[in-house]
Amino acid sequence: MRYVMNFRGIIENIKGRASLSKTLVRAEGESDEEFVYREYKVARRSKLLFIFFFVLLFFILVGYKITLGEYDISFGDVYATIWKHITGTLDPSSAKEMMDDNVVWQQRMPRVLTAILVGIGLAAAGSAMQSMMKNPLADPYTTGISSGALFGATLAMTVGLYIVGGYYGRVLNAFIFALVPAIFIVMLSRWKKPSPAMMILVGIAIMYIFNAFQSYMMLRADPNSASAVFTWSVGSIGMTTWDQLPIIAVISIMGFAALFLMTRTLNALNSGDAYAKSLGINVDRVRIICLILISVVAAGIVSFTGIIGFIGLVSPHIARIFVGSDNRILLPSSALLGACMMLICDIVGFLIIGATLQIGIVTAMIGGPIFMIILIAQQKEVW
């Protein structure tokens, strides 16, 4: 408990130092308007400072993560190699440089980039989902996306039902079935206005249906495919290659950008539907658009990596403690934090067991306790 209290103390201390608003003194002859504007600017600057801190942490984590593995490479060499690769200044005659480049770029970078993109996508979707649903428990999977994806993947891996063959058969199956709840809600919205509660309940109902069918298929499947399904379901980032990365990147980055453009509207939704309408927002339409965006991002990610929990739920809450609830700052902050958390989990997993540990297990193992500490330690009512 003492550590919990300390954690709170540390956060309050950092916040107190970064936000100078408490010590802000009104200058002589300064009007209310000028003083409040100055306070506003200081508060905004302190939030940007946190983002800057997260960016710094991000680059440190990326560098450190790439140093981990059988082949020894220093932190400095990692960034030197990345720089040389990007600028095309690698020396082909230097065996070490070429070896470094191979390890950094071909062997370790896909995993790191996947971690980053998954973190960005899931955390951005999570923070949008929480604001849209006005629910601190919402995460990108709330509407039954994960169970849909699992059902789709199981269908491909055990029964052999898929639209295209090979690796992408599973991915496409997972993607399509992950979107089923969203599609259902969109169709339903034609004659019934979709409230957040309805969206969640429809998701839960579809989840049960999918889970039942999935369990049945697992019972009937041969042990090998059942085991493969199980491994997939835990969520891993080690299997992506440079070929698949552009697809994940497009889904994650475009999804993030689109959600970012909606952040001001999400702020208004937070004050209730009636008030949001009075601000000129077509609440029902916005909610549907948001749901589709979130579903596509989460489904896209899940279909490649399997179910990686807690990132989408926890990142927005941690970010909210530091930067507040204005989605214009919260969404990018939690995306950045999501990427950092993915990297941290991957690093921790590697340090404990080695590269083979599924990241989905680590995110839940670390994310769960962190979430609990935050809940107990938080002083102000942030949500």
């Binding site: 209310d32 506003y40 209730g272 927002i281 909210r320 609830s325 204005d326």
Partner: protein, 279 residues
């Protein structure tokens, strides 16, 4: 020029329950207009139909000569601001950010200096400039109400609608807010619609009062025509004496200790009315 409100043959049902029917109303003069009536009579519903939060079951509303049905939410937001009865924030922002929300229909993606200054002026009007950087959730119900009124003012609307803006305020601030709203209406030449339960506060400050009961408008006009002992008896089933103070009616209620639940007129006549008016 005043942005006029006209409602013709307006009717609203929630499912099978009819709230009111055939409401015909014109508000063409600037000023503070008070809407009165017992609980559940549909005062908030009436506001909802004006700015399309709720689509009426029948009839039309025109704002500034344009039918609300043909207006976009965006267009309406530039004309009308709405201050809800209760705050409904899940993830609260700072008070200043909350008030800045009112600038949504007017400002761009980023917050400009001008927006902050307008918001500050509104905070100042409500006497809560010192709360600007506090978290909205840390405040009391009365302070929430002040912030929400400031947020409505920040929208700089041509029609301002407030749903029980004084419900959580002490008597000093009730009077202050009503006076402020009346003065804003006069100064900016706009219509300010207020739902109010305190007949005396409404009577003292409103330029016009509209009394709703049992699905229709019982009385409409200056306070001396609306706040009468007969109307109060008919609408609230309360005996009272109405004095004139500063040329405005002032109600003294005769409190009957034998008062019981279900004896007000709404309950006595509701089922009969709703049965008759079933959709």
């Amino acid at each position: 020029m005043v942005t006029e409100i006209r409602a013709s043959n307006l009717g609203v049902c929630y499912g099978d329950i009819r709230i009111w029917k055939d409401i015909n109303l014109e508000i063409t003069e600037p000023g503070l207009v008070g809407i009165l009536g017992p609980n559940g009579v549909g005062k908030s519903t009436f506001m909802y139909t004006l700015n399309k939060i709720l689509e009426p079951t029948e009839g039309d509303v025109t704002i500034g000569g344009k039918n609300v049905k043909e207006l976009d939410y965006k267009d309406l937001a530039k004309i009308m601001a709405y201050v809800p009865q209760q705050s409904n924030e899940t993830f609260a922002m700072s008070v200043l950010d909350t008030v800045l929300m009112g600038r949504y229909p007017i400002s761009g993606f980023t917050t400009a200096e001008e927006d902050v200054k307008v918001a500050t002026r509104c905070l100042k009007m409500m006497g809560i400039t010192d709360l600007a950087m506090r978290n909205f959730n840390e405040l009391s119900a009365g302070q929430h109400q002040k912030v929400m009124i400031a947020r409505g003012l920040a929208q700089e609307p041509q029609i301002l609608m407030l749903d029980e803006p004084t419900a959580n305020l002490d008597i000093y601030h009730q009077i202050y807010v009503m006076k402020l709203l009346r003065d804003i209406a006069k100064e900016k030449n706009i219509i300010v619609l207020v739902i109010c339960h305190d007949l005396n506060v409404a009577s003292r400050f409103a330029d016009r009062l509209i009394l709703l009961s049992r699905g229709k408008i019982v009385a409409d006009g200056p306070s001396k025509d609306v706040i009468t002992a007969e109307n109060i008896k008919q609408v609230y089933n309360m005996d009272s004496e109405v004095l004139m103070v500063d040329d405005r009616p002032y109600v003294i209620y005769h409190v009957d200790e034998s008062i019981e639940m279900g004896q007000d007129t709404r309950y006595v006549n509701a089922t009969e009315f709703q049965k008759k008016e079933h959709k």
